[in-house]
């Protein structure tokens, strides 16, 4: 019998969330910041599915349904976010978030 339980997965999720947060906070590259957001969404998904497996009543799939919705929103976020990055690059010719502080051209 395996000794892996819910806390193991929650700790992995916490590590993913922390690393994603440090990526979002410290990166200067806008694409890097979007990568950090993806890591944070993955951390949330790991927690959703772990809770669904260990805590929810047998046979319920609510956590997995939510994880699918999170994946869908992550795809939409990535498409929009990277399009915005491309628009920023065309306007400022850089995607360094330190230098793109103007709200208009």
């Amino acid at each position: 019998m395996t000794t892996i339980g819910l806390p193991h997965f929650l700790i992995v999720g916490a590590a993913l969330f922390s690393l994603g947060m440090v990526t979002v906070v410290t990166r200067r590259n806008a694409v890097g910041i979007l990568m950090g957001v993806e890591l944070i969404l993955n951390a949330a998904n790991v927690n959703f599915i772990a809770f669904n497996h260990y805590v929810a009543a047998p046979g319920t799939l609510t956590g997995q349904v939510f994880s699918i919705f999170v994946i869908v929103l992550a795809a939409a976020e990535a498409a929009i976010g990277l399009a915005i990055v491309l628009a920023i690059y065309q306007t400022f010719h850089t995607i360094d978030v330190q230098e793109t502080s103007l709200l208009r051209e």
Partner: protein, 282 residues
């Protein structure tokens, strides 16, 4: 007896010490497992064995850093510490050389536990590579390993459909999109090693450590209401039924969101190109 060159003699000495160190490690471990040796002498003997292995290996690898004297002791201590923690970890997983009261060896390692630790290690290592790499391309490739590890964790939790969706959408879609964005926004002549600069990394690392500590404390200490172990069943049919009955409205809204995101991304990204083509036409 043929003449032995000093080079060959040194080589053989290294090899002999390496073998002796390995023998010492295995013998002390076995003696301890069988109950002939207390813990402290075992540790000392194994430390000596590690020193021998490190010195022997140094003849073949890391030759530009000849280890001797204090440096050898220190390096061996580091290696020994790492090995000790790995062994301790494995023992808490399954006990590699655990023996029950009847004197039989209990199974080596629980394969399921090993699979979890491998997947979790891959995930966290990939995320760490993404967070700390200096090169944005390496960050993207590290993200690949993080996504694949998370997909493996989903399978470990009996969520086959989310795992497939993770591989298809994250690895096949989002990661490719990220790589496209990196390629499209790279200035020519820019040093790729410095495309991923950090800002206030110590502060960020402190924040991450604090968050990780808090969340880990909460995860371990909270009295979760654990259901009895569930069997692993395919979930696709159940998910499909859930999407088309209980979650029908969110499902349709998600479709609209995806369509809006698609159209919006196209419009946002092609604005400037349209203007330049107008300028070219004029």
């Amino acid at each position: 007896m043929a003449e032995v060159s000093p080079n060959l003699r040194a080589y053989l000495a290294r090899l002999a010490v390496l073998g002796a160190g390995l023998l010492l490690l295995a013998g002390a471990g076995l003696a301890h497992a069988l109950g002939y040796l207390p813990t402290l002498p075992t540790l000392l003997l194994q430390y000596a064995g590690v020193i021998g292995v490190v010195w022997g290996l140094n003849g073949f690898v890391f030759r530009r850093l000849p280890l001797s004297g204090f440096l050898l002791i220190l390096f061996s201590a580091a290696v020994f510490g790492a090995l000790f923690f790995i062994g301790y970890f494995l023992q808490s997983v399954a006990g590699p050389f655990l023996i029950d009261s009847a004197g039989r060896f209990i199974g080596l390692v629980h394969l399921a536990d090993l699979a979890f630790y491998l997947l979790a290690g891959m995930t966290v290592a990939g995320a760490a590579g993404c967070a700390f790499s200096r090169n944005i391309i390496y960050s993207a490739w590290s993200l690949l390993f993080a996504f694949l590890g998370v997909a493996g964790l989903y399978i470990f939790l009996g969520a086959d459909f989310p795992a497939a969706a993770q591989v298809l959408i994250y690895v096949g879609g989002i990661l490719v999109l990220i790589l496209f964005a990196i390629m499209l926004t790279k200035q020519i002549g820019e040093d790729p090693k410095l495309t991923n600069a950090h800002l206030g990394l110590p502060f960020g690392a402190a924040l991450a450590v604090a968050t990780l500590g808090t969340l880990t404390y909460m995860a371990v200490m909270a009295p979760w209401k654990i259901e009895p172990a569930q069997s692993w069943q395919p979930v696709s049919a159940g998910l499909g039924i859930a999407f088309l009955t209980e979650y029908l409205l969110p499902f349709e809204v998600a479709s609209v969101v995806l369509l809006a995101a698609l159209v919006g991304a196209v419009i946002i990204a092609r604005k400037e190109i349209k203007e330049t083509s107008d300028a070219v036409l004029q």
